[in-house]
């Protein structure tokens, strides 16, 4: 009987107790448990589906029947090099680059004022003014711009009132960027893209400028640098990460947009529209996937160059 008492099993530990013991003993376990769900999400749902899509671009479409041939080939990528498809890519990249450059030039002074001069209420008002357009629907803004830029729209009317019609006419008669009216020209499309993405450029630049110490600027002036020299050698290099961060937004957003160019512009396709048209009834998923690879590689290249320029060193 006595031995039986000694053999009594230990009291059963509660599950939570054992769990906390295990977590303490194996240090890596907690980390693994916490990381596995988001990594699974990122790996399978996010990257996995992306890869599944991109793999399609190595298939091709049968010329005669229009069915998809599931064999590895680079034929579909060769199709990207057809002049018409190359046009779509070039047009989109040039538009994205132009929008980015113009946004940066426009945004810098605004961000500079907001970061270094605006104080208190003025600063709040600035933030509000910059963010406000982001609160209304994208579609509403685009349709509103279509009306503003129409041949008989508000912009043309205002130009007529102040006698600036010849200026608008000269833009519209310019080759390439012109067209019958602002709302069906590349120039109009460019304007509206800038309007849409400007906040995404201003905010990162402002954040970067706020981190430039005032003492450095004063030191530069004390050492005899002219204002424009200070700007080139002190402010701009220190604010560059902000400009690059902003340009990543404006560049990639323009690269992927497929709604605005349907409503404003000369009816030529940008990348997103080409992808949209090729899937579905057309059933040309391989070419659509190959088109989808283009913005990804352009962005990768862009980030690589930005890194070379030292844009991420400050982070």
């Amino acid at each position: 009987m006595t031995s039986a008492v000694l053999d009594l099993p230990l009291p059963r530990e509660s599950l939570s107790r054992r769990l906390s013991d295990a977590l303490f003993k194996y240090r890596g376990l907690l980390l693994t448990l916490l990381l596995v769900p988001p990594l699974l999400w990122l790996g399978i749902v996010y990257v996995g589906s992306l890869i599944a899509l991109l793999l399609q671009s190595f298939f091709s479409i049968d010329e005669f029947s229009g069915t998809i041939v599931r064999e590895f080939t680079l034929k579909t990528y060769a199709e990207l090099l057809h002049p018409a498809n190359l046009d779509v890519i070039l047009r989109t990249v040039v538009m994205a680059a132009a929008v980015t450059a113009a946004s940066a030039i426009l945004a810098f002074p605004i961000a500079y004022y907001a970061a270094r001069y605006a104080r208190g209420q003025m600063k709040a008002a600035f933030y509000l003014a910059i963010m406000m357009p982001l609160w209304s629907s994208y579609l509403v803004k685009v349709y509103a711009w279509k009306l503003l830029l129409a041949k008989e729209g508000a912009v043309a009317w205002a130009a007529d009132q102040i006698g600036a019609t010849p200026a608008i006419d000269s833009i519209l008669s310019a080759p390439l960027i012109g067209g019958p009216s602002l709302s069906v020209s590349y120039f109009g499309q460019f304007l509206v893209f800038i309007y849409l993405w400007l906040p995404f450029m201003i905010l990162p630049i402002q954040a970067a400028l706020e981190r430039v110490p005032g003492s450095l600027i004063e030191a530069s002036a004390d050492l005899g640098a002219a204002p424009n020299q200070t700007f080139r050698t002190v402010i701009l290099p220190l604010a560059l990460p902000g400009v690059v961060a902003g340009s990543i937004f404006t560049f990639s957003l323009t690269l992927g947009d497929y709604i605005l160019p349907q409503i404003i512009g000369p009816s030529t396709l940008l990348l997103g529209q080409a992808v949209y048209m090729l899937q579905g009834t057309a059933g040309n998923i391989p070419l659509a996937a190959a088109f989808a690879v283009v913005p990804i590689s352009v962005m990768a290249l862009y980030l690589l160059i930005a890194k070379r320029m030292g844009a991420f060193d400050a982070f």
Partner: protein, 385 residues
Amino acid sequence: MRRTVFTAIGLCLATSLGAFPAGAQVKQLGKAEGSVDIIAWPGYIERGETDKKYDWVTGFEQKTGCKVNVKTAGTSDEMVALMNEGGFDLVTASGDASLRLISGKRVQPINTSLIPSWKTVDERLQKAPWHTVDNVHYGVPYQWGSNVLMYNTDTFKEAPKSWSVVFEETTLPDGKSNKGRVQAFDGPIYIADAALYLMKHKPELGIKDPYELTEAQYKAALELLRKQRTMVQRYWHDAMVQVDDFTNEGVVASSSWPFQVNLLKSQGKSIASTVPEEGATGWADTTMMHVDAPHPNCAYMWIEHSLSPKVQGDLASWFGSVPSVPAACKGNELLGAEGCETNGMGNFERIKFWRTPVSKCSTQSEGCVPYYRWVTDYIAILGGR
């Protein structure tokens, strides 16, 4: 735990085995199941929420006890995708989706003897090839309509006789060129409009059907569209954008839908429409029933309801389309006495209904250019190549 899994698998097997074999049709109707799920174009099934006068759902629900759930779809592709997913009873499929649904075995044959109003359907639509395969009906016509040539009556004192005003550079009756003042549709299916124009003006090409084009005929159509590119102000995509372009962009002629014409007229603009001598392309939609429809009885009740003259007439007035039931044209308050004629009732014979171009075609022995090439080439044309 394990037992539940097995039960679940067993249940799945039972339901899939018990499901309707493809091709079978309903023999007789039972009791209403309480609801019906329909995939429809926006504006096709109205319950008076946009405009109180346009309501053809509430009455049906009260009469049959079938609650109508509508899922709207923006494109034919979306409709096909939703039907492939399943869980729906009915779909209002257009001609570029209906045959795909039939060949994909997503829809079941319709037993017309269970639909008393079937005999009131326009005879020209009863055996239409976009829902009838080997004499089996896979759907019931819902509405149809035609693309029209919309024009500004200040510029054109008389209706233009030919589509040439949008295809060829000419001087319009107001003495100015049409360059920069006309529009074209931005979908690849518009190549068929060019082919239809060539059918009449270049008979030597031997085009028999604008959706069935040989290489040579297709090339000629592209050539015409490339010329048109230089005169087009915008390729329209969005009906409301086109309405705006006719209002304040100085556009005077374009291929369009009766919807835009009615809207602009209701705003008092000097706009009219016509179907020129070449004829026009158009669409015809069919109510089709999913092969595994969960509520077959309510679905049949809706099909019957959808053919009633009141529904057909109200819908035609709302959508700018033409009823599939000719009786709907008379005595409908919303549509008016002239409504059917305005929307194109008399043009049936002159309309080539939208179909997806495929490489195996009946009118050309050498085979035809399939739709995916229409898309890549239309992208090139829009880009000015």
